[in-house]
Symmetry: C2
Subunit: 652 residues, 2 copies
């Protein structure tokens, strides 16, 4: 403590010192002459087992999920455990009427959004609309028990439904064999759930990280465009439409079936679309008017239904939903499809949709967590979302957040509202026209086209932008899952390229300091004559060891040419700043010792500055440190320069 | 220059300064009080095109192959170009009788090794022995024109031949359809050549780097064991032998055919094997006795042939080569196989063998280059080896080097010796027994089992060792190409893991200096009260941004707990040392700015220290620097600590 407290004084002195007097009695200054050479230490010894344990825990438990349990009594541990599994016990005790009021409001708001969207998304996955409602009724209940995000309103999400619809309908026609199709859809959702929750249980949350934001932006935009275009079927009242998901067949089947266009549908449809878009625009402009866009869908459903009901005798060309079975449909477990030819397809679809909904769900959860400053446990989210999906479901949260949801009670309210609809109000949807569902979908997905983000990518990071474009066009022209594949592949290749071609920088001294920095970045930094100071900006291992060797030798060659041109003092010593070399493998170590040999053959000294812990350790184990000797490894570049230059020059 | 020269003086002074007097007139010291806060600079602006050009040249031309051509006259450029393409013009002019003498000796030495090995390896790939000789006759001539390594003796190499033999014989039986088999083999070799040279021309040399040394060690060892075991066929005189390459079928077919064992073959065979192994051992012990192991194969061939010839009437159970066609066989272009069912197989085999021979060839070349201190151009090597392979060939160099080969003339000598053999001496091999070829192969491949390297891997890097073992057992039990695949996969996964779970270290101040280092590695480093100084040891991008965010927040939490436990001053500021953060993408930047928000919500200051060039640039483009403000980014941790602590504490 004493030590620490007087450390503070030092730094305070630095902060405030102005006169020589104070300065001289700051120990830190007096001693920091580069004369004093510090030893580079080895990290403390650890057993392989210990290291393994550590790295595994870093891989699988980076967030140290059980830290709250540390040094607690068994009783507390038990309660904490309950709370960990069921967050409801965290906020339950503090729940009060005020919170309830908020939740009721937001619950109903979501319900008014959930009911039409539920039906629409069901149509998007070519499922009977009732499934859509059903899936926005059960899952929220589960999530409100398990989920850790307070604002994650749950229900079917457009992209995932779309992907499922496309992947299934490429092999199974939902018109010819609706039952099989329904079975497959439910099975896929089931597998998505299993996949997600197992990811969660296995703590493999990080696989999601390999979908970079850039690729997702492109992917979502592409998917959104496809979805919107597909809705032209409903808006134009076209009967025969392709089941393909690429842009070309979709557009062609829009313009080939010109004879099927019904001007009445188009007229009314687009007016409703305009209404919804305007509502959305208003809410975007004035967040406190969020209810406008929230209420708009239900309103337009009601209006359009009445309209069509009145026109039912005059206009016959408007497609409507038609008969909807009333009541809660039987649990879909008996509908699952575990054998037969299409199982593989179901599983594949499940995986893709699972990953998609996860990424979106977690991303959304994180955003709101950041706003309200609490943390979302990725792996736990997966379990929650996964278990929901086992009963079939996805996410819709912005409204929930704006609607001021305080706890997941809002989900329960919403669920019950939907339940009521399921039980009693289904017949009212008989005359609901398809075009209004289409326009609801378009309004919902149009927000996924984040052109600003894309522009920012272009401005900031061209490579990210490329990845974004690739996944965008991959989705548009090839297929949705393949687009996703391309996106991931690009991300991984990007990593590998970055790893196999790391930067090497020439460092110079910033006048009047002991600081050495990249001479390109810092114009004031001066090269130290007869020294070449290189910083390697990456771990040195097999993927780049050959490159680095060649590159460093090239640096030396170019430096010698430069010196010859400028008639400076000849090159004596190469210092390799290892600060950013965060790891090294056997290839890397061979490279280092080989470089030493080669340079010494040219009578050039080769020393290392500031190797980090594990690198030191490995160099030591491989007996490379010994070959460098005492004068071969320094704590800082400054110390190396000072010490070596003193030995180079004859003393005055 | 003036500046530079007085820079030297500074450092000399540091080196030698002992008294206060000198110290005071070293400007560098007086000014380097942390009071003076330096600005973090942005790197100079470059256009996107310029950046793209730069990174592409780094990816494809890291070695700047054309640097010799810079600012030369056209005439010189032309000559340099010729020399670049045909190194023979580099050493040709300086060639003299002494060099010739060396080359003749080494050439003949290699020939004496090449002839028996050529025949043996041909048998290894189930090809007519003459192909083996043929392939050690043409390629050297090509290589001696194009190759850049002076010691790369070229001829068929065991592993590649083995892989080819195994991959082909899994589908095509060489006993039933020898012609098709031969065609396929030649086609595969041809494709290997095309693949290699195209890699070279496309400057894709770095794909080879993804075969790490560790995985190669395992792979080679596994392959060597398989090869040796297969030779038991010849040594035991077994007639019916499996064509499979896994260890189990091979061993089983060795011990199932016990009735076919002929004790004469076993007796003589093993004695010759012993002879060869002893010879090899001697040469390993005394490098100047290299000729012992070099001459041994030919000697044993001659001896065994005579022996069998004498015993031909008494012993009939010894398998011999038999009739060999004399003379140079017609160019194999008409033997190539470009259509029909097996083309895919041929191409696949070509790719695998191509990669294998490349890795080995280049590795070997590099080693000797390092010893003699000249550089080998990977991409150029590929072109050379590739073009050789188009006529079918591989590498054998240690002898060549020890035999004191000075230029590739030795290859020419060797080639002509082989040519002579082809033309006149083939009938002499009629009685050469198979067991001697088997023992030659075993002796050749036994050296590939590098158990010392494996042990070193275990000692130094457990993860590398794992990769090594996986590829080893992959080859032994699954299949050779799959083993290679596993090896590469492990290497890539290793990279991705390292990227997605980077280290974060807590830094402390080393008393009496401005240096901040990892507190685990440096016991003397002291944490600065009310500061948490974290160093991130990796680029921050999509693969690890989420993890890093969670991890850093966890560090903060744990630090706060520690402080509470020790009753220290409360945490005020988190400093993120970005020295090792060599790149950042959009996800990474979101993480940084989100961290700032979250920490500021807890009224914790969050500042960055020493962001490198491109990171600064991106943070600037994304307007994140502005959000950090002037007091948010420092050049060094020391300056950050000094400046902030002064503002924290009220002035005395």
């Amino acid at each position: 403590m004493v030590l620490n407290s007087n450390r503070v004084d030092h730094f305070v002195c630095h902060g405030t010192t102005t006169t020589i007097k104070i300065q001289t009695d700051i120990p830190i200054m007096q001693q920091s002459t580069p004369l004093e050479i510090h030893k580079v230490r080895l990290p403390p010894q650890h057993t392989t087992l210990h290291k393994l344990k550590h790295s595994l825990s870093e891989i699988f438990f980076p967030d140290d999920p059980l830290y709250t349990f540390k040094n607690q009594t068994w009783c507390t541990k038990f309660f904490l455990g309950i709370q960990y599994l069921f967050p409801i016990f965290q906020w339950g005790p503090h729940y009060n009427l005020l919170l309830l009021r908020h939740d009721v409001i937001s619950g109903l708001t979501i319900a008014s959004l959930a009911i039409p969207q539920g039906i629409s998304y069901a149509k998007l996955a070519n499922l009977p609309p009732i499934i859509g409602l059903y899936s926005s009724f059960v899952p929220p209940l589960i999530y409100s028990l398990l989920g850790s995000s307070r604002h994650l309103g749950v229900g079917p999400v457009s992209i995932a439904s779309l992907v499922m619809g496309s992947m299934l309908s490429e092999t199974v026609s939902y018109t010819q064999d609706p039952v099989l199709y329904l079975k497959l859809a439910l099975t896929a959702t089931f597998f998505a759930g299993v996949f997600q929750s197992s990811l969660g249980f296995l703590r493999l949350g990080f696989v999601i990280d390999f979908l970079s934001k850039a690729t997702l932006v492109g992917f979502m935009a592409g998917a959104a465009i496809i979805v919107s275009l597909q809705q032209l079927k409903g808006l134009f009242g076209i009967m025969h439409f392709t089941s393909k998901m690429q842009i070309i067949p979709v557009l062609s089947s829009v313009f080939m079936q010109r004879d099927e266009w019904s001007w009445q549908t188009i007229l009314i449809g687009f007016s409703f679309l305009a209404f919804l878009l305007i509502a959305r625009h208003i809410s975007l402009r004035k967040p406190n008017l969020f209810w406008v866009s929230a209420a708009a869908p239900l309103t337009s459903v009601i209006l359009s239904t009445i309209l069509v009901f009145l026109l039912r005798n005059k206009v016959h060309k408007i497609a409507i939903i038609g008969e909807l079975p009333k009541g809660v449909n039987p649990p879909s477990s008996n509908m699952l499809y575990f054998n037969g030819p299409h199982l593989a397809l179901a599983i594949k679809t499940g995986l893709v949709t699972g990953i998609l909904s996860l990424t979106e769900g977690i991303a959304v959860g994180r955003t709101f967590a950041a706003l309200k400053n609490y943390q979302v446990d990725g792996n736990k989210e997966m379990m929650a979302i996964g278990l929901m999906n086992i009963a079939g479901s996805f996410s819709r949260s912005a409204v929930n957040y704006n609607a001021g949801a305080q706890t997941t009670v809002s989900n329960i309210i919403m669920a019950s509202a939907v339940l009521v609809t399921l039980l009693f109000l289904m017949p009212l949807f008989y005359y609901t026209p398809n075009f209004v569902l289409a326009s609801i979908i378009i309004t919902a997905v149009i927000g996924l086209i984040d052109y600003q983000a894309a522009y920012k990518l272009w401005k900031v990071d061209k490579l990210d932008c490329l990845a974004c474009l690739c996944s965008f066009f991959g989705v548009l022209f090839i297929s949705v899952p393949l687009g996703l594949g391309i996106a991931v592949a690009i991300s991984v290749i990007k990593i590998l390229l970055h790893v196999s071609r790391p930067n090497t920088q020439v460092l110079g001294n910033i006048p009047g300091t002991l600081i050495f920095r990249n001479v390109n970045q810092y114009r004031e930094a001066l090269r130290v004559p007869s020294f070449l100071i290189l910083a390697v900006e990456s771990p040195i291992y097999f993927a780049n060891s050959t490159y680095l060797q060649e590159r460093i030798l090239r640096w030396v060659r170019e430096e010698e040419e430069r010196i010859e041109a400028n008639k400076e003092n000849t090159l004596k010593c190469i210092i390799l700043d290892m600060t950013a070399v965060t790891a090294i493998d056997t290839n890397g170590m061979d490279t280092v010792s080989e470089l030493r040999k080669m340079l010494e053959k040219r009578s050039l000294q080769f020393v290392l500055a500031n190797p980090v812990g594990n690198v030191m350790e490995k160099l030591h184990q491989a007996n490379i440190l010994d070959s460098f000797g005492l004068k071969g490894v320094y704590l800082t570049v400054a110390e190396a320069v000072a010490d070596i230059s003193s030995s180079l020059k004859p003393q005055p």
